[in-house]
């Protein structure tokens, strides 16, 4: 039983990680408090469903397709709404992003109806995998694999490539990066689109596990923010560790203590933030 609690927790954590990681990097870079990041995941979920149902695209093609679409579309939102508020008060950023969440929820209700949507995952991803000593659900194995591949790819991209070095410099000290000639604005747009696209991929993956409905962005808003702030802004490692810790604890709590386990993750979050206000791997800026 312990194995399956941890296993399910890790699969759940991977979705949290994939959706939250872009938020962590963009918030770390621009210091923008964005409560609307879940909207990109939600849009990714819906577009994946549409691509499969309306166009008949296979699942493994629909996922990246939705990610690219959302990534590009997010740039419009960034220019139109986010950019004017980069130097505004946190309060204004919070309010703007709440406004975006509400509009998105209403728009998706209008387009897709209020209920959750579902897809048929392909046969090779349903069923169980026999690992010898026990069996595991194939789809969750797939989730963990995708999460692991993404984590490694993102880590490599940020730690080992030139563009990654620029991103790190911009997260570390935006003004300094600008003064050495890094075009932080276009770098940020690139990161924003990438982060939104990856979140959309997470949303597409979540349809089968968490379910996607118009309330998704509001329902999980708190969780994504918690993952990001517990991990520390602007760190991929931090987001991964926070997602794993919180995902496994949340899953275990709900499993072992169904009537009371839901508050454990908030207690853990408060404890971590009291002790480390900038998160597990975050550093204070300024």
């Amino acid at each position: 039983m312990l194995v399956s609690i941890v296993f399910d927790g890790v699969a759940y954590a991977m979705i949290l990680f994939i959706i939250s990681v872009g938020l962590s990097v963009t918030m770390g870079m621009m210091g923008f408090v964005n409560l609307a990041h879940g909207v990109f995941a939600m849009a990714g979920g819906y577009f994946t469903v549409s691509a499969m149902v309306a166009v008949g695209m296979p699942f493994l093609l629909a996922l990246p397709g939705a990610a690219v679409l959302v990534g590009v579309a997010s740039l419009v939102l960034e220019r139109l709404l986010y950019a004017p508020l980069y130097n505004a008060r946190e309060l204004d950023q919070v309010l703007l992003s709440i406004g975006i969440v509400l509009m998105a929820a209403a728009a998706f209700t209008f387009a897709y109806g209020p209920g959750p949507v579902s897809i048929d995952v392909p046969d090779y991803l349903s069923g169980q995998i026999d690992a010898g000593f026990r069996t595991f659900p194939t789809y969750r194995v797939f989730l963990i694999a995708v999460g692991a591949v993404l984590a490694v790819a993102l880590w490599y991209g940020v730690e080992r490539t030139t563009i990654g070095a620029r991103i790190r410099a911009a997260v570390d000290n935006r003004r300094m990066a600008e003064s050495v000639g890094i075009d932080v604005d276009s770098l940020f747009r690139f990161t924003f689109a990438l982060g939104s696209g990856v979140a959309a991929l997470g949303g597409g993956l979540a349809v089968e596990v968490l379910g996607v409905s118009p309330g998704f962005a509001i329902q999980y808003l708190v969780l994504f923010l918690i993952v990001v702030s517990v991990g520390g802004l602007g760190t991929i490692k931090g987001t991964l560790v926070a997602a794993l810790v919180l995902g496994v604890i949340d899953n275990a709590g709900k499993y072992l203590w169904p009537e009371g386990g839901a508050f454990i993750i908030y207690a853990v979050t408060i404890a971590i933030l009291l002790y480390r206000p900038h998160g597990l791997f975050g550093r204070s800026h300024g």
Binding site: V33, G99, A105, T109, L225, A262, Y266, A267, I270
Partner: protein, 333 residues
Amino acid sequence: MADATRARERATAHVVTAHRWRWVEAAPWLVATGAFFLLPDYMTLGTQIVITVMFALSLDLILGFAGIITLGHAAYFGVGAYACGMLSAHLGWTEPVSALFAATLVAAFVGWLSGLVLMRYHGLTLLMLTLSVAILLQQLANTYSDFTGGFDGLTGIYFDPVFGVFEYDLWSHTHYWYALAWLAVVFVVARRIVYSPFGRSLVGIRENALRMHAVGAPVFRRQVAVYTVSAGIAGLSGALFAQANTFVTLDVLGFTRSGIIMIILILGGTGRLYGAFVGAIVYMVLEDELSKLTPEFWEFGVGLALVLVVLFARNGILGLLDRARSLLAERGR
């Protein structure tokens, strides 16, 4: 010499007369009275609006005046509501006024206790902590359902007539006047605080905390103090909510309630006391009318209004009125 005195009077007038009552300040109370006689069938909504104004007012004290941002102010509303409800349902404490006082004290105490920790943090960390504290309380209320009724809500709440005389009626007429009387008391207190040296020092903290430290202000203790007062008022509004509805559910502590009260205050205008009135009336009347027709359009409209306010009208509806008035004054000249 007389000229010099007059010049000095002119220069100090904005401080000397700031706290004086203006005629226009009678407007909310005239509206409230007029609404009772013109729309007697809407007093259930009216009562909810009065309670919401009080809750928004409590948020204005910390957000608008002291500049403390929070995503979890429903925590204190909820504590007040549950405290008041549980006093009646479990202890049989059915005298309404004293129960209200007791619930206010409980909420203020929780505010003080959490404020002692929370006010040490700023920015995103503070946002996340206030958010987490409120949701933690909500989950605890869910877990300990023996006391709180959990997911099904707290029932069995009953209160005696106010002062043993005023019976409650189906149309919430008694509740309306009762809540309005409390709002008047709270408003006068909040208004006093805002124009006092203490209230001005809160504005100083909002404007520049670093400078407040440098002029010898105990910034932290002052933030805890106003946080406690604000939590108490939020608790009082929650307790009124419990008495008016005789039913308390988990959503009194929810993130949605924290978010909506912030939206209401922002729409009305922060840091000016009356933003709470304008925001609550506009939001709740429109919600009552529009959300019945099409809930999606209402939700979309709120989101759009919020985006527009942030981008173009940071000071809310009252800020827009101010701007219109000064434009007209310039034209008139």
